[in-house]
Symmetry: C2
Subunit: 306 residues, 2 copies
């Protein structure tokens, strides 16, 4: 296999992790360019990306899922094979359709990372192999970026972080083959920096926030800016658990990540290999992790892993 | 999808489990015939299997891997799509080649079950997603049929069972990203029924048996026939663990099986669905679990699992 010519779109935590991993694996990859929306030294303006059409095999697209990816990916898919980590579960079907509309003869691998990603794979395999008991997913212990942002947007909050923690009794119940309500699976623990006189109303605003906190066991801790910066600033660890049990057979997948973006990037880079090989076989279209046979990830002798 | 017409070859623990599962899932499967080498009531003679060529979509082949499967599968592959649980890791390449030699326009899924099977999948995914640290497999706590048989064949042994137990310190070392020697990963614990005056020579014969026990930490316990029959007779539980860690990211897959043959059968039945759908798409050839995209296992909405 010749070296895969890679471009990275985006310069956030995820993009920077992709750049690091691609450089570490220079036996497999050649980093052609990093694309950015704004002028940043050492990067190329994203608006000129089409000039790289014949110079890049795979674009690793590291942009936000809420607004950026749904607009950007359908544009890029005209000329480029891509791998992304789109993670809005409820919108993946719509997202795929939009990419397919104008897609060129390229491969788009969507929704890689840990969830969606390896936890999706586990749900599919576990459901197939343990009959009649759907696999259950738990997230954490770890930092939820979405929930942390939601708290930060409350008036009076200077800084905040939210830890998602699976509830032990819920995990045990699922292990025994019982069904647990979604709201009873996780506990949400917030650490918040705010002026004393605002604590009461902020705690109330957090605990009643629909979709994010309402109905969950939620713990709100206020802390000083110094303590927050020392203990919580920049923390990106996360993890997950997929369980299936029919009473006879029990399967568990556990993930513990020091850095959520680093792991997501390493899964994206693995699927860049798969995308390249699918493209080389003449396959085109949009692929999720469910559409890709495991062998496409293995560059060595796959039979030795069987 | 119409119902999948299934035949089962073999009447051991595995074959019987396949029959049970296929009957439980009568919404998906129709059991056409059970094939046996000898005349058994309710079964069809295996020598007449070719008469069922157009009546069966998938044969679940439940025969031993050491001598039966390597002879039988290449014969069956002329006319039938098959799923098996061939488990001699070192010979899978050769096994596949022999099936391919005379294969008709059919699908043969080989080496399904737990290992090879879901543990193979984990090794491939973990190796791809955690860079530079190969995934490590542990087996147990559970009963190794092969090792139990090996002990039973020693002169003077009336009955025996062998439990394979992963060593905690080895598991911890791998979790920390260290490399552990193969012989140091597992402990082997035997329970043996034999006359008192033979204990010493039997223990010696076990502990020095090449490939099976020599070099392993091995514990030999002698017990009465009554105690053996009460505690150990018919036990079929097993389990496994696949670990990968690069110090930053840690992935663990854990399997706990009350019945090794029942779980193996449930994985075989899941791959019968995949084999049927591959065949319907016009694909033919030999497939391992690495060659089959996860979506082929999912009969519902795969996007909802992503």
């Amino acid at each position: 296999m010749r070296k895969i010519r890679v471009g990275v779109v985006g310069l956030g935590n995820l993009g920077r992790s992709c750049i690091d991993i691609v450089k570490e694996r220079s036996d497999l990859f050649e980093l052609i360019a990093v694309f950015s929306r704004r002028e940043v030294e050492g990067t190329v303006l994203l608006s000129t990306v089409d000039e790289y059409k014949d110079k890049i095999d795979i674009l690793l697209v590291c942009v936000g899922s809420s607004t950026d990816a749904p607009i950007l990916l359908p544009q890029l898919a005209k000329n480029f094979s891509t791998v992304d980590s789109f993670d809005t579960h409820a919108k993946i079907g719509e997202y795929i359709e939009n990419i397919q509309k104008d897609q060129g003869d390229v491969v788009a691998v969507v929704g890689t990372g840990w969830d969606p990603g390896i936890m999706s794979l586990m749900r599919i395999y576990f459901d197939a192999f343990v009959i009649g008991k759907p696999a259950e997913s738990f997230w954490g212990d770890g930092v939820s970026l979405g929930h942390s942002n939601a708290v930060r947007e409350i008036e009076g909050v200077e800084d905040a972080i939210q830890f998602t923690i699976p509830k032990e009794d819920a995990v045990d119940a699922v292990r025994k083959g019982k069904v647990v309500k979604a709201l009873d699976k996780h506990k949400r623990v917030c650490f918040v920096v705010a002026q004393n006189d605002k604590h009461k109303q902020i705690e109330e605003a957090i605990k009643t926030m629909p979709n994010y906190f309402a109905g969950y066991e939620t713990e709100v801790n206020f802390t000083s800016k110094q303590h927050f910066d020392k203990e919580f600033k920049g923390r990106v660890e996360h993890g997950g658990l997929v369980l299936a049990s029919d009473g006879k057979s029990q399967m568990e997948f556990k993930l513990k990540l020091e850095s959520n973006p680093y792991y997501t990037a390493s899964v994206m880079v693995a699927y860049a290999i798969a995308a390249f090989r699918l493209k080389q076989e003449g396959k085109t279209g949009v692929f999720t992790v469910a559409d890709i046979a495991p062998k496409y990830l293995e560059i060595g002798d796959v039979i030795s892993k069987i």
